[in-house]
Symmetry: C2
Subunit: 417 residues, 2 copies
């Protein structure tokens, strides 16, 4: 079978499952999620066997040690998948919420009801335990999902998707609600993102190359998790001790994640007082610093930052540092160079905080808190399907509720216009 036929057949079957899914009741979904968790725990050995097939090919695919680590389904990770599914079962039901119902002068009553999005195409790389998260979150919101993982995790993903679909099906969920593309030819992605009228939303999670290819080719809506070029701005009124704590935490607590800070902006009035001790602290934590001209004037021995540095998500113990003349300049710098993920201001001035919150065009804005807080779990959403760096539909951490949309519901009395 050619890849186009394979993808379209899978997608059409999944779309039919999505339509049947619209009327499945809350209790059925939750018992299916619990059964899916059981199925994972009951099939530890088989999951490990499938995973070992992928691991055996790691050298052939040229995976780095870090990639092999992410690919490996340890006992703990297998239990983590089951636990995640049980947690999702315990979330409040996101579908069927009827809001803003009001009677209109024409006599009709009109309101908005939350409903599933339909068929979600989830395109991801590397970690096979994401398969269970994605299946659980999309199912809870009443959707079907068409999974398309990377070739390096193909055996693990196919086994998990089949196991979860079977467990769901045995518990009243339409067959095909959890579907997977079983051929990993690269054109498979193209056929998914062109499947207008069949797939309702594409969520890509992976490297920049994948995201770019999806955005350029898609004919259907995409919500992407692009990158986190996050900023911490130290205002002239900042408590400098708190500022240091936040800056160090934002950069160094876990530098490899998207909500870690990549550039530190410092108001010129506090640069002399703040930077020398901050640099000392960063160096202690092993952070390499790259400063603007003025920063290098205060702290000698510092590497000079280039224009490129302001755009860069290092995902590493590297931090760009820039002195700015004003709060407004800090905001302008952020709105120019940021990836619109998360930015923090440290200030004791209410008006400065207000301006920053209002003017910064990013999905999360922090006042006197570390950028590291930008996370669905921390915000109280439960598990997240990703962190949207897009502005439409969902922004920032995306939980189960963001996997629904709404319809307008109108009740009349044989009413006409």
């Amino acid at each position: 079978m050619d890849i186009r036929t394979h993808v379209l057949e899978k997608a059409k079957q999944a779309k039919q499952a999505a339509q049947r899914m619209a009327v499945v009741e809350s209790a059925v979904k939750d018992s299916a999620l619990r059964a899916m968790a059981e199925a994972i725990l009951d099939n530890r050995a088989a999951i490990t066997t499938a995973n070992e097939k992928d691991l055996a090919k790691a050298d052939e695919y040229g995976l780095t040690n870090a990639m092999v680590d992410r690919l490996t389904l340890t006992g703990k990770r297998i239990e983590g998948m089951a636990e995640g599914l049980r947690e999702i079962a315990s979330f409040p039901e996101p579908v069927g919420k009827l809001t803003d119902m009001v009677q209109r002068p024409s006599g009709i009553r009109v309101g908005r009801m939350t409903v599933p999005i339909g068929l979600i195409g989830f395109i991801y790389e590397s970690r096979p335990n994401v398969t269970a998260d994605a299946a659980g979150l999309t199912l809870k919101a009443g959707n079907a999902v068409l999974l398309r993982g990377g070739k390096e995790a193909l055996n693990s993903n196919i086994f998990l998707a089949g196991l979860l679909n079977d467990a769901a099906k045995s518990n009243g969920i339409p067959d095909g609600v959890i579907s997977i593309v079983e051929m990993t030819d690269r054109e498979g992605v193209r056929h998914m993102i062109e499947a207008e009228g069949i797939i309702d939303l594409i969520i890509p999670r992976g490297g920049k190359g994948l995201i770019k290819a999806v955005v350029e080719g898609a004919r259907i809506p995409v919500i992407k998790h692009y990158e986190g070029n996050c900023h911490v701005y130290i205002d002239k009124t900042a408590d400098l001790e708190g500022a240091l704590r936040i800056a160090v935490n934002a950069k160094a607590q876990r530098p490899g994640v998207c909500n870690a800070a990549e550039t530190l902006l410092v108001h010129h009035e506090v640069a002399d007082a703040f930077l020398p001790s901050a640099v000392e602290e960063f160096v202690k934590k092993g952070v390499e610093l790259r400063g603007c001209k003025r920063t290098c004037g205060i702290v000698t021995d510092m590497k000079a930052a280039t224009e490129d540095d302001w755009y860069t998500e290092y995902l590493d113990l590297v931090l760009a540092v820039k002195i700015v003349d004003s709060l407004e300049d800090a905001v302008d710098h952020i709105n120019t160079y940021s990836s619109h993920h998360t930015e923090a201001i440290v200030t004791s001035d209410v008006l400065s905080a207000d301006y920053f919150v209002t003017a910064v065009d990013s999905s999360s804005v922090m006042v006197n808190a570390s950028t590291r807080f930008a996370d669905g779990g921390v915000y109280g959403l439960g598990a997240e399907i990703g962190i949207s760096t897009d502005k439409l539909h969902a922004r920032g951490p995306m939980g189960v509720a963001d996997l629904t949309t709404y319809k307008w519901v109108v009740y009349g009395k044989n009413s006409i216009r």
Copy 2:
């Protein structure tokens, strides 16, 4: 200047205006909207002069009478634009609403704040009075707009956009918040829809050719108003008198609009009782009917419907009629052939109504009410920028609130993770 440079320069300037717009206060926006209304009333003659330049080219562009009618800015339409802007000024402020604020175990407080989307690219055809609506609605929600109208209305649109931008600018709105592409080369559309990172959202309103070109080429989010292939389903428990009233209203009250019905579905148990008198009524209203085989068996002389008819938005006094075996079959037909705009059920059974509302995958679902009610004004949104047939971000009638998005706002106490 080449078209690409023109579009990108306009877009970049408008994007800067959008960023400055984020901190403009509510009262400033509303007084600017009122000043824009005044400017329109004060410049009736100049608007007419610009419009006459377009009308003089109507023959050259091969416009039909209906198109010339839509292009003409009569005195009443000019006043309508001013009235529309005043009405928008009176709407509640959509920006800055902070919801779901909650303290989390980490000590941070987190909530969601409504914010402008940014720069909206609005691509439209024919009616120049839409220029004022689009400028007013996007401005109210704190956005900048880059307008791109059709060549047939170029002079009217350029004059109106300039007039409105100047009036807004004199009242505290950043210059360029209302911008217009002044060259109408077709590639201009392509440069807009590829302007990733500059334009945040494209709203196309026009013919199918335009919409298709936008969807296929866009690298940025699109919310489209596609078409309205709407259905009325007469359930076996329907009050047949009410059913007739609704069916006739949905088809014939204003057949040329997107919320008019195009297909009538009838439960087989009431087909004999309902169809003959319904057909009589439709024929009286000048409606041409196209029936499925079973319909043609009940009402002779009826033209047979083809597979194509089920997909067609006639926008005319034509109606396809199909007898179905069950409520479920009616829903399946709708989910297969509909454009997901608006569908109505006529029924006296609560469970049937419930199933229809839940299972139909369309932006508006009506129970015992005509599809013609699907409208922003009727629903209480005030003016609408369009009716979204997409599922993401906004669905159905789109008012000012749908021209906003949100950001997460976090307040800490020098909090770290």
